[in-house]
Symmetry: C2
Subunit: 162 residues, 2 copies
């Protein structure tokens, strides 16, 4: 038996040779998953301490940055289904952190926007959260973070398959 070779499969029993193209892709998927979950676990812990689920927090953050946003765009931005948007917007509205505002131009459209209370909350919470995220990402130096961002952006941009 050869030495451990990560998640590369029953084949890879060579001595630290360069991975094949396919192995590189498979390994990237594994590492991406693990990094995402590890990082998210910590970020989520920070969010929950503030009484918000990750989806709730992400929506609030979006509204904080963008102002008034149609529900549909929220789903597109944070990549969840319309059902999930409705569910979370309901919860946030129940907490009086956001409000629904019907569009005057298009009666199908409903905007979400922060209430004064929601804005006040974010003004207080966001800097703390940002500091927490900074700490979470400290495994990479500044330049490495920029590099990772560039690569991940490129990876995420792969054309949608219709």
């Amino acid at each position: 038996m050869g030495k451990e070779s990560g998640t590369t499969g029953p084949v890879a029993d060579t001595i630290a040779a360069a991975p094949t193209e396919q192995d590189a892709a498979l390994k990237l998927l594994v590492v991406l998953s693990k990094a995402y979950k590890t990082v998210m676990d910590k970020a989520v812990k920070d969010m929950k301490q503030r009484g918000l689920s990750p989806s709730e927090f992400t929506i609030l953050e979006l509204l904080y940055n963008k102002g008034r946003v149609p529900l549909q765009q929220i789903g597109q931005k944070i990549l969840v289904t319309s059902g999930s948007v409705t569910y979370n917007i309901d919860k946030l509205e129940g907490k009086s952190l956001i409000r629904r505002v019907p569009s005057p131009d298009d009666r199908r459209v409903v905007f979400a926007e922060l209430t004064d209370q929601g804005l006040a909350l974010l003004r207080r919470i966001f800097p703390e959260h940002a500091a927490a995220v900074q700490a979470i990402m400290a495994g990479l130096g500044y330049e490495e973070q920029l590099q990772a961002t560039k690569l991940l952006k490129q990876l995420g941009k792969t054309a949608e398959q219709p």
Copy 2:
């Protein structure tokens, strides 16, 4: 009003200056999330076409690569809770793709291992899936994939906070 500046926040109204350290960290989190979800969406689509949920598939893949694995280690490897492991192992056992094997050494421990049927399935499915993953990751070239893997591994390795 300044030009669009991504998700950097209400502050960033400078002209494409270098992001602050905190902005770099926040942006990395956003880009990591999006890349993960975009990539996973496609990988999951591939898995579901084969009648398996992502968790089921990931567990099968793990057993395919590692052989007999204690349930607890499965949870650690794929980063889900023990409840989720039980749920998915039950489903896979129901499909006769894996079987539970009690450890002879430690009666608390239960191994999961592929059945002949499960092994046959993976031998057929895995190469196709690997090809799909390769296509999904094609947004990055080979060297870029290695680089991304290195960075993500480093990022995911941040020490656990007790």
